[in-house]
């Protein structure tokens, strides 16, 4: 039972984790992207469509990343170059993606694809308890946690990470050191969108092998909330996203055991927990929040109003 719930947590949390890591990169550079939901949706459709056309799910994942990046690029252009309000721009990108995917996705509803299959890792997958939880997944799921660790390493142990964080904290410092903050923001937002696109791809070509309108069901917005839960740390993001996945898996498992706990109540848990965490560490959280984000969350709409 516990084994099944934990395995389920990883299965249903992975797509959110990709999106959450992408949003972490973006927010580290000082850009909030509510369009993460749109990047996920776009990624889910593009991956499904490309897989249906080429028969190759890896091509699908690439297409998903590309589609996610394109929607994020639009957000980057609006907020960096055109200095638009970040929350508004993100919502608009989300709305655009809902429209575009509904429009082009209609013909793919009944397509059958060969997706990314579960590939148990030899020997490791046979370990009792741990094996089924950790080592019987598709390739994207295996990549999610290493990616989070790599991002953590990148943020704190490499020059690029330093530049990225500098742009998110004090872009005048980054500028003085000879880096163009806008270019860094473009790169961060686009990379974030690509990761969200991969999250969408995981949903459509690895997890469900299906495309339906609105299939992300708000997972991209959840990812944005979980970035806050994780206090902009890729490692804590792992915890947050699998906790979210766990709530889904737990409610289904409890039902199957005949235990009458409302699934809706369980679905609330991740959000209430995030609020609770915010409560406990409100001051610390403020400290952890990239300086550039403060402007967005505190009503100026965009980082550059304070800088220019």
């Amino acid at each position: 039972m516990l084994e099944a719930i934990l395995a389920g947590a990883i299965r249903s949390g992975t797509s959110v984790l990709f999106a959450c890591l992408g949003e972490t990169v973006s927010e580290r550079a000082g850009i909030v992207n509510l369009g993460t939901e749109g990047s996920m949706l776009g990624g889910a459709l593009a991956a499904f469509a490309a897989t249906a056309y080429t028969g190759n799910p890896y091509a699908g994942v690439l297409a998903g990343a590309a589609a996610g990046a394109i929607f994020a690029l639009l957000h980057a252009w609006l907020v960096v170059t055109r200095n638009a309000n970040q929350l508004v721009s993100g919502l608009v990108v989300m709305i655009l993606a809902q429209g575009v995917t509904a429009f082009f996705g209609r013909t793919f509803v009944d397509k059958q694809i060969v997706g990314l299959n579960t590939q148990p890792i030899p020997f490791l997958s046979d370990i009792p308890f741990v094996g089924p939880i950790l080592f019987q997944h598709d390739i994207l799921t295996y990549l999610a946690v290493p990616l989070a660790i790599a991002l953590w390493y990148g943020f704190y142990r490499t020059k690029w990470g330093l530049v990225l964080r500098a742009v998110g904290e004090r872009d005048d410092v980054a500028y003085a050191s000879g880096y163009n903050p806008d270019r860094v923001r473009y790169a961060a937002v686009t990379l974030g969108g690509a990761l969200a696109g991969i999250g969408g791809a995981q949903l459509s070509v690895a997890y469900t092998l299906n495309w339906v309108e609105e299939m992300t069901q708000g997972r991209g917005l959840v990812a944005v909330a979980l970035v806050i839960f994780a206090a902009w740390s890729p490692l804590r993001a792992i915890l947050g996203c699998y906790l979210f996945g766990g709530a889904t898996a737990l409610q289904l498992a409890l039902q199957a055991q005949g235990i009458p706990i409302s699934p809706f109540f369980l679905s609330m848990v991740p959000y209430l927990l995030t609020l609770f965490v915010l409560l406990l560490v409100a001051q610390k959280q403020r400290y952890a929040m990239p300086e550039g984000l403060r402007a967005v969350f505190e009503g100026k709409g965009n980082y550059s109003t304070q800088n220019r």
Binding site: A4, V212, L252, G258
Partner: protein, 399 residues
Amino acid sequence: MKTRKKLLPFLSLVLIFAFVISACAAPAAAPAPGAEAPAAAEPTEAPAAEASVTEAEMAPGMGGSAIGFLYVGPCDDYGYNQAACAGADAVGTAFPDMEILEAENVPENQEAERVMETMIRQGAKIIFPTSYGHLDPALEVAKRHPDVVFLHQGGQKTAENLGTYFGTIWETVYLSGVAAGHMSETGKLGYIVAFPIPQVLLNINAFTLGARSVNPDATTTVVFTASWCDPGQQAEAVNSLVAQDVDVITQHQDCTKTIIETAERAGVMSVGYHADASTLAPEGWITGSMWDWSELYAKIVASVEDGTWAGGPYSGNYRTGVSEGSVKLAPFGKNVPQAVQDEIAALQAQLLSGEFFPFEGPIVDQNGVEQIAAGVRLSVGELESTNYLIEGVVGTIPQ
């Protein structure tokens, strides 16, 4: 500060006036101002008054140039909507002069009212709101349009100009339960459903009865997703059931593709619902229940068009089933032994002749309470108020 604001309020006030004026213009342009205020409420009154004038020449629903169909999902979902769309196509073929207006992904709330109104404005006098949750919006629209006939799929409420139809699909669900009972090795079956409405509960009960008729120890584990089609939830529901040793999975969802494909990939068997999805699971497909609405839809439309609908069978809660071909058993999968196929064919013949009735008492619910006494055969209407799960079902009705 003040000067810069001058133009803005002015412009906006103009807009407010536009808002209010068009609000007032609306009733003037509408056909029957005041007469249809909700205080006049009961749907029966308005049509009755109207009928006395026009009955001689034209009954409700006649004389339209279009027929409207509303679906809650897309038309090729390997499921409920696909079956309904196929029915609409058949109506288009049978009535080539009629325009078929179709709307997919219509939510089960007031938005459905607007879609129906738009169809009526485009000349529809017959409307098929096909999803369960379209019923109450349809009743609202029916009050406003006594000259339009509404035909709801699966509901239990009627009005002067709204009838319902459905099929006793639990007959074939029972048969596929028998097949599942034979095929399952673990004796654990899984049922992924959306909402605990009577149709759903009846199907779960029928499936379980069928399985337990050949394997008395079989159990059905039921999982509610609170959505007709959410692939993410569906995939996880399958995985969750498989983790509990379930080896046959069936469903009452609108879209069935994710569940059947995920079951196939997990190496467990599947039983379909709504449409033939055997191509999705070449190994694990057992059989399934399918709708064939083409004949029924055409018959209903014909009765409306020739003025015999009102007072006829289709103006109430019309129920059909295997006997009329609206409900069918899907083809068997390649791994189902011939003996099992023959047994089910024989059972279907008994069912058709009335010799056999799946819900003949005694039927005992999960709590050991006898719900149907020995030897009693409830009517279809009585069965459709089912609010319990029978013995052998694991999982509870969410309250």
